[in-house]
Amino acid sequence: MINSWRKNWNTGMMGVFTLSAILSLIPLFAVLGYVIYNGLGSLNWDFFVHLPKGLGMPGGGMANAIVGTLILVALASLVGVPIGFLAAIYLVEYDRSSWFSTLTRFTTDVLTGVPSIIIGIVVYTAIVVPMKHFSAWAAGIALGIIMIPVVVRATEEMLKLVPHTVREAGLALGIPRWRIIISIVVPTSAKGIITGIMLAVARVSGETAPLLFTALGNRYWAKSLNEPIASLPVQIYSYAVSPYEDWHRQAWAGALVLVFIVVILNLGTRYIFKERQK
């Protein structure tokens, strides 16, 4: 009796778990499927190579926004990755428990939870206003700041997974500590660190709110990083809320390209890294 009750309970719970797993997949596939369905039809060669056309005119593309997003992500990584990565090394390898590292960890956690629009307005006040113009630099810094806590926490968790015995093996061989970190600890956890960094990249490449205050947007090519620059999220936003049918379709195409950029960056980094490890 007990046995069959237990079996049914087991089957029932198993069903609940499976159902939850499936439910958690549905939004992902729904979003991806919807973007592909709507975006693919509007995607053409012009979209990649042409600038946007004038107000309400059909045709044109988002070449400047695609390049702009790539530039902004690169700038953001330039700011966020080194700072985040080195801070994590400090927290794990040099100072695990002082008041300073506790404060740093706490601050990073808080920063993770700060809405990105707030970071945008702070950069606006601190950089855009004194410089008297919107710029790619300001946007890169804003996105970089958003990246920092994600990179810190991901790198920290990965470094902590490296067993202490591995570090001691290095010490016991008479290898200086900095060398152990660069050549033993980091390579051991490199895969996880790269994944963490790519997550941060994915997160910022879709950020829109901070860009409204910093990069602003640009209907033409930005001639330098000191100018306002176009980006896919902002372009998608302004096209999606416009009254023009053709712009709506382009917004979908932009969304699809944005997703693709993130996926390609992700797979590309993994591939390059794998080749290097061989």
Binding site: R96, S97, P163, T165, V166, E168, A169, G170, L171, A172, L173, G174, I175, P176, R179, I180, S183, I184, P187, T188, A190, Q277
Partner: protein
């Protein structure tokens, strides 16, 4: 050639907890010295003091003198010192991101030795000394983690030998291994003592009896007795040693 160690009034702490009190001990060169004692008696701490690994832990302190061929190790640069006093740990700890070959030469390469031919020669020599060459010579580029537990431990021994230390500390090197792998390691130790001074921590009294020239018995952070192994096991001077080796406690 091995170098001798003399330990004078060595004390060690973890935070406020004292784990070693007033250890005086002579460790002759080219000898195998076994450290035995129950868990928590400070035997691991003792060997970790000898290469100053103890003081790399947060809150750990040590005091006293350890003379390596007459010169105090606390006056030496600790990174340099550890190239001269190698160590093998209880659990094999090859570097996970490195190949077998890179593991062996890690201590040299990461200290700036670039000569490829020299590195290759040293790798082969060290692997041969660790009795691992024949098993891995065909797959030096495979990951060190691809080896079995016993092979990994011998890889760690080869890695320690590659930097050509004069003293080799072994902290229960065979405790995680099966009897055959243990036998490999024990044979190895007997050969290595021609060139190295060996200090081995072991839980296993039979092992100490098999391989050690002299044995030291630690209890509650004190050195109770230290003497030639045969004497220690047949005719211990201290009552506590006798109780321990006859299995009455520990």
């Amino acid at each position: 050639m091995g170098q001798s160690l003399s330990v004078r009034n060595l004390e060690a702490w973890y935070g406020s907890q004292k784990t070693l009190t007033g250890i005086d001990m002579e460790i002759p060169s080219n000898h195998v010295t076994a450290i035995i004692g129950p868990s928590g008696c400070g035997k691991s701490t003792f060997v970790r003091c000898l290469n100053r690994l103890h003081e790399t832990l947060p809150g750990a302190k040590m005091k006293g003198e350890v003379l390596l061929d007459g010169s105090n190790i606390f006056a030496q640069d600790q990174v340099q010192l550890r190239r001269n006093i190698g160590m093998v740990f209880q659990k094999a700890n090859p570097f996970p991101s490195m190949s077998i070959f890179d593991n062996v030469i890690a201590g040299l390469k990461l200290n700036g030795v670039r000569n490829k031919e020299k590195l290759r020669q040293i790798a082969e020599k060290s692997l041969r000394m660790a009795a691992l060459w024949d098993e891995v010579s065909e797959r030096l580029d495979n990951s060190g983690m691809s080896l079995s537990g016993g092979q990994q431990q011998r890889l760690c021994i080869a890695r320690a030998l590659a930097v050509e230390p004069s003293v080799l500390l072994m902290d229960e090197p065979a405790s995680a291994l099966d009897p055959i792998a243990t036998l490999h390691i024990e044979e190895l130790i007997s050969e290595l003592k021609n060139q190295y001074t060996i200090v081995i921590v072991t839980h296993n009294m039979q092992q100490a009896a098999r391989i050690a020239d002299s044995t030291a018995f630690f209890l509650n952070g004190e050195l109770v007795e230290h003497g030639p192994t045969s004497e220690m096991f047949t005719n211990p001077r201290d009552k506590r040693t006798e109780d321990y080796i006859s299995g009455r406690f520990g």
